[in-house]
């Protein structure tokens, strides 16, 4: 009988979970939104998605090659970043702009900080903000969908901000289906909610962040908007709130791990979003809100650390 036995520390069993499987689940969860993006905004959307994903993956590949690091594109996180970035851009974005954005997301925001798990801010969001600032005329705002009867491609939130009355806004059905101006992946609420359900079923994320983020945004909009129910509904469905709350604020690396931490984090996101939307000069605030909360996430995590079973608070103060 063989006697060359392997000796290692316990546990000797693993659940089979892997970073790659998680990222694949996120890609699957994003696919309804991606499909709807192409349906609503045409081949331009497909082109944006393809360029963004390819640029993201390729730039991570090249970065690892140059810096002689272990290749990490297999974990699919770069693909997620690329897809997510594309979905938050309007169809008017130029092909080279999305390329610059994707490379910025991967190289500057992610790889330079040490790669997956080490970035303090969400790469897709940071790149989107970078693009908003750099390429304002084509990246800010939205374009109208192929089915839109409206002439302008302005997002509903921009319209509200500009003082449009309710009749100028898309119908509620249009808002749910995604037939409204906006970034290619953010408009179809139903597709995003399908993705949310998938992530919950696969236990990739918990309900805390999206539900609190969206719920608090709705309530705070009611409060700040003088209890205008219609406006609050448009605040929930009209901007990038759903995609941000479901797919970006739930980014593992840049948000707290505990349930209470997530609740606090999500509430902070909602508060900043509404403050920016109501009191800032911008129609949209989700990206900035999430980025701000990314930065203070470690402190929230510290405040909301779980209490160990039977822990005695201070050294020497044993009960």
């Amino acid at each position: 009988m063989a006697n060359n036995l392997i000796v290692s520390t316990s546990p000797h069993l693993h659940s089979g979970a892997s970073t790659r499987k998680i990222m694949l689940d996120v890609l699957i969860a994003l696919s309804p939104a991606a499909v709807m993006a192409v349906v609503l905004f045409g081949l331009k959307a497909l082109l944006l998605i393809a360029i963004s994903v390819c640029s993201a993956v390729l730039s991570e590949f090249v970065f690892n090659l140059i810096t002689k690091k272990r290749q990490t594109i297999g974990d699919l996180s770069a693909a997620v970043t690329g897809l997510l970035l594309a979905l938050t851009l309007p169809a008017s974005t130029k092909w080279w702009q999305v390329m610059v954005g994707a490379v910025f997301a991967i190289v500057v925001v992610k790889c330079l900080f040490g790669g997956i798990g080490c970035n303090f801010a969400n790469p897709a969001i940071t790149a989107r903000i970078f693009m908003l600032i750099s390429f304002g005329t084509t990246v800010a705002g939205g374009t109208k969908t192929a089915f839109s009867e409206l002439t302008a491609g302005a997002t509903p939130l921009a319209a509200i901000k500009a003082g449009a009355d309710a009749t100028a806004l898309p119908s509620l059905t249009d808002m749910l289906v995604g037939n409204r101006g906006g970034a290619i992946g953010e408009t179809c609420a139903i597709a995003l909610l399908v993705g949310f359900a998938y992530l919950l079923i696969k236990k990739v994320i918990t309900w805390h962040t999206p539900v609190v983020f969206v719920g608090a945004t709705f309530l705070l909009s009611l409060l700040f908007g003088g209890f205008d129910l219609t406006a609050s509904v448009y605040h929930v469905l009209g901007g990038g709130l759903l995609i941000g709350a479901i797919f970006m604020a739930t980014d593992y690396v840049t948000s707290p791990v505990t349930s209470w931490g997530k609740v606090v984090f999500a509430f902070g996101c909602a508060l900043f979003t509404v403050i920016i939307r109501y009191f800032g000069s911008l129609p949209e605030g989700v990206s900035y809100a999430i980025l701000l909360m990314n930065i203070i996430s470690p402190y929230i995590e510290k405040l909301c650390a779980p209490k160990p079973l039977g822990a005695v608070s201070k050294k020497g103060g044993k009960a």
Binding site: I6, S10, H12, V257, P306, P308, K318
Partner: protein, 445 residues
């Protein structure tokens, strides 16, 4: 209903292939090796020397101190050697090697003890060499001493058996239910402060639950708490919480919250000893794992080489990669198939080479699965991060702040980690760093 939430939420596969198999008795081996330690407490002191003849049940080593246990010969024959033995915990102890004469003559020392009160009961348990059969091997008599001080109102019978594969406790509750009941009655007779005896059994053991319920129907103050089949229900602090709602404070013992926890097979062993005087020289264990073609429950002499037990079960599937004392979550790998079955061995898990190879770990993605999985409410990632702190003092301070001492190494964090981080290994390392630091500080004083 209990007014609290069950702790422990990790879906570890059950793989209870042997649950319906009563134990098969394996013939006694030609030779046994009895290590004097390897579990909690001081190594025992041999009272025999090379050349001595011994009989089944004869005392061959006595406790060396308070937290220590007696060892008895599982076979009759001759002591051939007393040799150094490297325990899985890294300590070297003495080990007695006994060659069988094939007779299995029972020693005249084996007579039922006289048990009339709590003191004589605990003394009998001490003589029986019983140690916690759940894993840690804490001397049972030392645990029971808490009954003398009073204040113990609850005995929790740990029958959770939450590790994959293992069904030896399940079989105890079915095949040895009379001994289990006698054990319960011993507590009822001699421990007057105990008002409640609770069996904690995972829900996946319907037959065992029914067996215990039926046997205990006419015993007052005994109940069964059906625990969720989620790992790690059998961890001491977790089962105390999930059966009584009590929380053992950091640095305290179950007795400090009025509880004693006893493994169900330990209970049956004690009852058998009180009845027959035969100490713990035989172990029923589950032999299973990916490399075992015919999983089984088998009763073997303590000290039998593990290789022989595996051979007894017949063919193996594929190349053997790893062999564990215990189950795959907390089991300790053995270095050689010559290593003996120990009193604490409730299972031998034999894994194939493919199952044994661990993949490389990748970067932590901060998903929080380890934090959610930790039944003790710890933050495993924080320990790993703290280990990287340069200054030793700061490192130790941070580790203690995050309560590294509460980690029981159950394995949940490593099990769920998608990046395959060696979290339990890091925690062990961290505990070592803290211990070393305190020893160093003590030496300085």
């Amino acid at each position: 209903m209990l007014g609290f939430k069950f702790l422990g939420n990790t879906h570890v596969p059950h793989r209870k292939n042997t649950a319906a198999m009563p134990a098969v008795k394996m013939p006694p081996p030609k030779e046994v090796l009895l290590p004097m330690g390897g579990q909690i407490g001081a190594p025992s002191t041999p009272v025999v020397k090379a050349g001595d003849t011994v009989k089944v049940g004869q005392l061959v080593a006595e406790p060396a101190g308070y937290v220590s246990s007696a060892v008895h010969s599982p076979i009759s024959g001759k002591v051939t050697k007393i040799e150094p033995y490297l325990c899985p915990n890294g300590k070297t102890v003495q080990a007695i090697r006994i060659q069988s004469d094939g007779e299995m003559t029972v020693s005249e020392e084996v007579v039922p003890p006289t048990v009339t009160d709590l003191d004589s009961f605990i003394e009998a348990v001490r003589k029986s060499g019983s140690i916690g059969l759940g894993g840690a091997g804490f001397p049972t008599a030392v645990k029971l001493d808490a009954l003398k001080k009073g204040g113990i109102d609850t005995v929790v019978i740990n029958a959770a058996e939450c590790e994959p594969y293992i069904t030896s406790d399940t079989r105890t509750m079915i095949d040895r239910i009379d001994a289990v009941k006698e054990g319960v009655l011993l507590f009822k007779s001699f421990a007057p402060t105990v008002t409640r005896i609770v069996f904690g059994i995972e829900s996946n053991k319907a037959e065992a639950i029914a067996s215990v319920r039926e046997a205990m129907a006419d015993v007052e103050g005994v109940c069964v708490t059906v625990l969720p089949s989620k790992y790690p229900q059998g961890a001491e602090k977790i089962i105390i919480h999930n059966t009584t709602g009590r929380i053992v404070p950091e640095g305290k013992l179950p007795a400090d919250v009025g509880v004693i926890v006893i493994n169900v097979s330990t209970l049956a062993t004690i009852a058998d000893y009180v009845k027959t005087g035969m100490p713990l020289v035989e172990k029923t264990l589950t032999l299973d794992g990916g490399a075992i073609a015919n999983p089984m429950n088998v009763t073997v002499c303590v000290g039998t080489p593990i290789g022989e037990v595996i051979a007894f079960a017949g063919e193996t599937k594929g190349e053997i990669g790893k062999v564990l004392y215990g189950g795959p979550m907390m089991g300790v790998p053995i270095r050689s198939l010559d290593e003996p079955v120990r009193k604490t061995t409730n299972a031998i898990t034999v894994m194939t080479r493919e199952e044994s190879v661990k993949n490389d770990s990748t970067a932590c993605i901060h998903c929080g699965r380890c934090v959610t999985a930790c039944p003790m409410g710890l933050t495993p990632t924080a320990f790993s991060k703290a280990l990287e702190i340069e200054s030793k003092e700061d490192k130790v301070q941070r580790l203690e702040e995050y309560k590294i001492n509460l980690c029981m190494e159950c394995g949940c964090c490593s099990f769920v980690c998608p990046a395959l981080r060696p979290l339990v290994q890091n925690n062990r390392l961290a505990k070592g760093v803290v211990r070393e630091h305190h020893d160093h500080m003590k030496d300085k004083k």
